[in-house]
Symmetry: C2
Subunit: 298 residues, 2 copies
């Protein structure tokens, strides 16, 4: 949970609420209760915490460090919206974050590890007395460069890894995404999701593959948080249905893509706060239209 | 119809048979008889012409200029296979190509215009006494740079335009592919297909959109001709079924993608010469698995 300041070709935001945990919680809470673990400073608005509570997000695991400041990131997107420059990063409370899993969280069956130091992600797994039914991990190229050993240790403990295409190539040393997924599966996760931004996402599992497109949009206003929102939709659907089969993961990925398509329509979490079940259902119908074809004609 | 010499990160070909018309004919002849219009030099092997005839490709409209040489292109692909450098282009017989539509071709209902000078493409349309049921046009950025007025004249006469994503942006002046397609539809074609290489293809028509993925492959060996093969599969299916509805175009695009996925597995037209109906059916089943999901669970 963080503050972001974002510049895109379409405009510039003030210092707004962001962070992987924020996007995941706003998204997943459409489908399932959420128990959040994070850390914020005394500058984080109480109203934001209250808004999450009102959506069914338990905040007992969110540490509030009154005398410190919340993590801050500032970035500028290029015209293609797939690349961005980081303008400023202030770790603040994240510099010494030691997550503590509350006793009331021990019943959690679905664990989503947002992108953070792999050792911090692992500490959450290790604090859970019963291994969750499914552990999903997001990570990024930065940890491959500065903490590859730690990353591999955590990777060996999870079921699903989510990375983008260039990260999959970097982690595996393979250019072909099919080969990259096979190498990553050998590192631990039995399922590998490779995110390709506007080009959709691939799910790999053994010799199976599924592809979910991104919805073609007139404008992508702000891609910040799209990957986290995708993760929130994915695990939210699995937690709701309690079915971790490959077949159900297909639906979960479509749902993740649908939720991400909302996220990018406005700055920050704004669009995610506005939508409800009817919006989500209508968008899912658009995905059916987008990829559904009749092969009997052939 | 041409000679190509191709270098990829996986190897280097001799001077092999290539050209948009060649790929389109090899592909479309899986689905429908083909009447070919093209020009070759005296150096073009008779055995290649015989091989096409054996597949049901009529060559009456293919001019053989005994004393001239066939068009030649040589190129080198980069590691990502999406970009390439042209090493050599020798126009030869193409420099003064004036296509002549034989009388026996006047019954053609489906016309595929492979990438070539827009004025040459238009001359074929103008020679047909009865307008075909469907005219599909491929083109490229080069003509947008040197012959935009001619391109727009031809564009106004066709039903379907096929371009890649950067060409769609260049032609329309719009970055968003959704907006680009809308602008291009106003130029004439009621259907716009935007090819994204390994990222699949989009079909736009009025306010509808359909997405066909590319099959994730372990190796893309040689992408030369993939777009032409895609075109051949697309029009081949439409000509076979004689149904030009948006719904049937969805199936046609999946078929085009399936055929293109074969094309890239070996150098040149080699793979297209090997495959038959059972290979195509098996690959279509892979596409069903790749994108099929059950949304009732949500």
């Amino acid at each position: 949970m963080a503050f972001d300041a974002i510049e895109t070709p379409f405009g510039k935001s003030d210092k707004i609420i962001g962070g992987a945990g924020t996007y995941i919680a706003w998204c997943a809470s459409n489908f399932t209760p959420v128990k959040q673990i994070s850390v914020v400073g005394g500058d984080f608005p109480q109203s934001e915490l209250d808004a999450l509570t009102a959506r069914g997000v338990t905040l007992e695991g969110v540490q509030v460090k009154k005398d410190e400041k919340t993590f801050f990131w500032s970035g500028r997107y290029h015209m293609d919206m797939n690349t961005r420059d980081t303008l400023d990063t202030q770790l603040n409370v994240l510099a010494n974050f030691e997550p503590v899993v509350p006793e009331s969280y021990q019943d959690c069956e679905f664990l989503m590890l947002g992108n953070l130091l792999p050792s911090v992600q692992r500490s959450v797994i290790e604090q859970l007395k019963t291994r969750p039914k499914l552990i999903v991990m997001d990570t990024m190229n930065f940890w491959m460069e500065v903490a590859m050993d730690e990353l591999k240790k955590t990777l060996a403990m999870v079921d699903v890894l989510m990375v983008n295409d260039s990260e999959a190539r970097q982690l595996s040393g393979e250019f072909s995404l099919v080969k990259a997924a096979a190498v990553i599966e050998k590192m631990g996760p039995h399922f590998v999701i490779i995110k390709k931004g506007e080009h959709g996402a691939l799910l790999f599992h053994e010799n199976k593959v599924f592809f979910a497109p991104a919805l073609p949009l007139e404008d992508v206003f702000d891609p910040t948080g799209a990957g986290d929102t995708f993760a929130g939709g994915f695990i939210g659907h699995l937690a709701k249905t309690r079915d971790i089969s490959f077949e159900n993961m297909k639906t979960a990925i479509i749902l993740g893509s649908a939720m991400a398509s909302f996220c990018v329509e406005k700055f920050g979490t704004q669009r995610l706060r506005e939508i409800g079940k009817s919006d989500i259902d209508a968008r899912l119908e658009q995905f059916v239209q987008l990829v559904n074809f009749d092969i009997d004609l052939v």
